[in-house]
């Protein structure tokens, strides 16, 4: 099983490193590949909370969007470079997650989900209404991603799609490696314990609320980095990035790929992004088909793609 996991890891890494080259052959384009990575990171971050800790959040888009707005505003108003901008977005979103997480951590199940949705909408409205700062419904434009100057070389991510893709891949790799480390650590194991049997975990002396809060904050931290990358991908950020539709899409990506598996959400994101891209070019009624996908996944493939294929493997 370990060998199987290693093989999967290697396969995924190989596929991602070479994606811009084989993407075009199957009718894709580099930007789509970057988009899959960004959404994949977001879905994997969500899954840190949803799949590994077992708590349903339907409001992660808020922190995704905050990361995006933070990065965009940093570039537009403060003239920061790419990496500091993403970092600023992450800081803002993580602080918000810490505060809100503390407020809601006592709830569970359906109620927790509702509350995450409602709080997510608060940020949506702030972005929408504070148009002087956020651009309102029109979004924040008039800025672009800047080339990254490493001192010894400059990465022209603003013109070259492939350069940007590899930049995104690098950030993705760092985040994913960090997440994997965390999951394997004692802290991560305690999250799984909470998921499996919260009561028993409590009896073992684990401070459940604090750990759930921590898991939430960590998950939102990574999601906000994905949000920053998203803003850079589009050279644009708008309130849609904060809406609960996006939250729902992230959840379906995690479920579709397999909540109990590490790479699952990445696969889910790849399928979902590519499917949406494909369907919306073919027919105006793609929303119906996407909705149908949601319904079919829930009814027939609740364990997701990787969940099905790695049945019996421990989480």
């Amino acid at each position: 099983m370990n060998a199987r996991r290693r093989a999967l890891d290697v396969a995924v890494i190989a596929a991602l490193v070479t994606m811009p080259f084989w993407m075009a052959e199957i009718g894709g384009y580099t930007e789509l590949a970057s988009r899959i990575l960004v959404m994949g990171l977001a879905a994997m971050s969500l899954n840190f909370f949803l799949g590994y800790t077992g708590v349903l959040s339907f409001g992660h888009a808020a922190y995704f969007g905050l990361g995006g707005y933070g990065a965009a505003m940093a570039i537009k108003y403060l003239g920061l470079g790419t990496l500091p901008a993403i970092a600023l977005g992450a800081v803002v979103a993580t602080i918000a997650a810490a505060v809100i997480g503390a407020l809601i951590v006592r709830r569970r199940g359906v109620y927790f989900a509702m509350v995450t949705i409602a709080f997510g909408q608060v940020f949506y409205f702030i972005a929408f209404r504070w148009s002087a700062v956020t651009g309102g419904d029109d979004g924040l434009s008039g800025w672009r991603r800047l080339p990254i100057d490493f001192g010894f070389a400059t990465l022209k991510i603003e013109q070259n799609d492939k350069a940007f893709y590899y930049f995104v891949l690098a950030v993705f790799a760092v985040c994913v490696a960090a997440m994997a480390r965390l999951i394997a650590s004692p802290l991560g194991r305690s999250f799984v314990a909470i998921r499996e049997n919260e009561r028993r975990a409590r009896f073992l002396g684990l401070d459940i609320e604090r750990r759930i809060w921590l898991s939430f904050v960590i998950s939102c931290f990574f999601v906000s980095i994905a949000g920053g990358l998203y803003a850079l991908l589009n050279n644009f950020i708008d309130p849609r990035a904060l809406r609960f539709d996006l939250s729902g899409n992230l959840v379906i990506m995690a479920v579709m790929g397999g909540m109990r598996s590490f790479w699952g959400p990445l696969f889910g994101a790849a399928i979902f992004v590519a499917l949406q891209d494909f369907l919306s070019s073919r027919t105006e009624n793609w929303m119906f088909l996407i909705g149908l996908v949601f319904v079919l996944v829930v009814r027939f493939f609740p364990r997701g793609l990787l969940g099905m294929l790695t049945r019996g493997a421990a989480a």
Partner: protein, 419 residues
């Protein structure tokens, strides 16, 4: 908490087999772009086909499709057939609009990019088209910045600026109805610039703003705003809200009987909105950017017949925007004898559209160094019943856009051309 994952209905083997089958079918399907016909000129149109702006977006693409058919029937562009690739940008998701634009440009290698109804998405797409140096025509996105502070050499716009719309309707209103105005303005950039334009135009004629409200997009209940409006005792309440917001606001205003006390008016109106109103709410003074009922103007009937044949309904301004955008690509390329964006853009400076495309009493010209089409504006009143079942707008006066538009300097456009 643990829950039982619901037992899947299909077992793993069946799933894997069917997944592989689906995967193979997907890869083998037309999604895999095989040999691209090298002699087809592609025009990409990314417009909303879902969401609140779907009706407008769809109508624009239909108008454009008609243009492409006519172009091909006449021999195509520079001797090659043209093909329209339509993508759904969604009504508000800039990420998708940008994604589709890049897809059209990078994967499909379009020579022209068209879009978007949503001003913000139009700006986002303009960012992509300028980056890639592709000729971009905005058929129906109204924010002034597109041919103003954010203008680019490669971006052209068919529909009017908010400033032009305001200037057109202001004169009629002040002359006929009075000097005190209350504004119901949608709270986004388009609304703000439209209100600013109206206030300026009306002030020039001696009118004043006695109050107003910024309403959030998607407001369902306008009663509070209407109550306040009535309390301010204006001569005219100006509704700048669009689409579904306009429907809600007008429906509710008429239910309150406000039109009996105060005159209702606004700037931009769409036939699609008037059609959605119950007959008793089809009132008010507005400005339309194109209207089908133009007796005496040649070629309009042919356009009406062609659209009616395609869709079964009368053309709206949106159909016309898309039609003009499609033809502009062809005519620009023909004049430049080239498909290169820079050549076409130069050819379109001060370009006058032929009468069978302009379809109005005045000339239609793309003003140089701003890339803004100057055509006709139609000030009139919504009506429940006209000469035909679809005749819901009575034109009172037409204006030539060129006469009432701000100068290029005033618009804030500083166009820089690549060397």
């Amino acid at each position: 908490m643990t829950y039982e994952t619901p037992a899947p209905v299909i077992d793993r083997r069946t799933f894997v087999k069917s997944a592989l089958a689906v995967g193979a079918a997907t890869v083998a399907s037309p999604y895999v772009v095989t040999a691209r016909a090298a002699d087809v000129i592609k025009i990409g149109f990314a417009n909303p086909l879902t969401g609140p702006y779907a009706a407008y977006g769809k109508n624009e693409t239909v108008g454009c499709q008609l243009a492409i058919e006519e172009i091909n029937a006449k021999g195509g562009i520079l001797g090659r057939q043209a093909q329209l690739l339509i993508e759904d940008s969604t009504s508000g998701d800039a990420g998708t609009a940008v994604q589709k634009s890049r897809k059209l440009i990078e994967r499909d290698h379009v020579d022209f990019l068209l879009g978007n109804v949503n001003s913000a998405l139009a700006l986002a797409m303009a960012g992509v088209s300028s980056e890639k140096g592709i000729l971009h025509i905005v058929p129906g996105g109204h924010t002034d910045a597109i041919t103003g502070s954010s203008c680019h050499w490669n971006v052209f716009r068919v529909c009017n600026t908010t400033q032009m719309e305001a200037a057109a309707v202001a004169a009629t209103l002040v002359k006929a109805y009075g000097k005190k105005y209350y504004y119901i303005t949608p709270d986004y950039a388009f609304g703000h610039t439209l209100e600013a334009g109206m206030i300026k135009a009306i002030k020039k004629l001696g009118g004043e703003r006695v109050g107003g409200d910024l309403t959030p997009l998607g407001t369902v209940d306008f009663s509070s705003y209407l109550i306040k409006a009535q309390a301010a005792n204006p001569d005219v309440i100006i509704f700048l809200v669009q689409g579904d917001d306009a429907l809600n606001a007008l429906k509710q205003a008429v239910q309150f009987g406000l039109e009996k006390k105060v005159h209702l008016a606004g700037a931009q109106v769409e036939l699609e909105v008037i059609e959605g109103l119950p007959p008793e709410a089809r009132i008010g003074t507005w400005v339309a950017e194109w209207y089908w009922n133009q007796p005496g103007v040649p070629h309009v009937q042919e356009f009406i017949d062609a659209i009616k044949k395609k869709t079964g309904r009368m053309p709206t301004a949106r159909h016309w925007f898309g039609y003009v955008a499609g033809w502009t690509c062809a005519l620009g390329a023909e004049k430049a004898k080239s498909l290169k964006a820079i050549d076409v853009a130069k050819a379109l400076q001060n370009f006058e559209l032929p009468p069978e495309i302009a379809l109005g009493p005045n000339k239609a010209v793309y003003r140089a160094n701003q890339n803004q089409l100057m055509a006709t504006l139609y000030v009139g009143q919504a009506q429940a019943k006209g000469s035909a079942p679809d005749d819901l707008f009575k034109v009172l006066q037409t204006f030539n856009g060129a006469d009432i538009a701000d100068s290029v300097e005033e618009s804030g456009c500083k166009m820089s051309w690549p060397t």
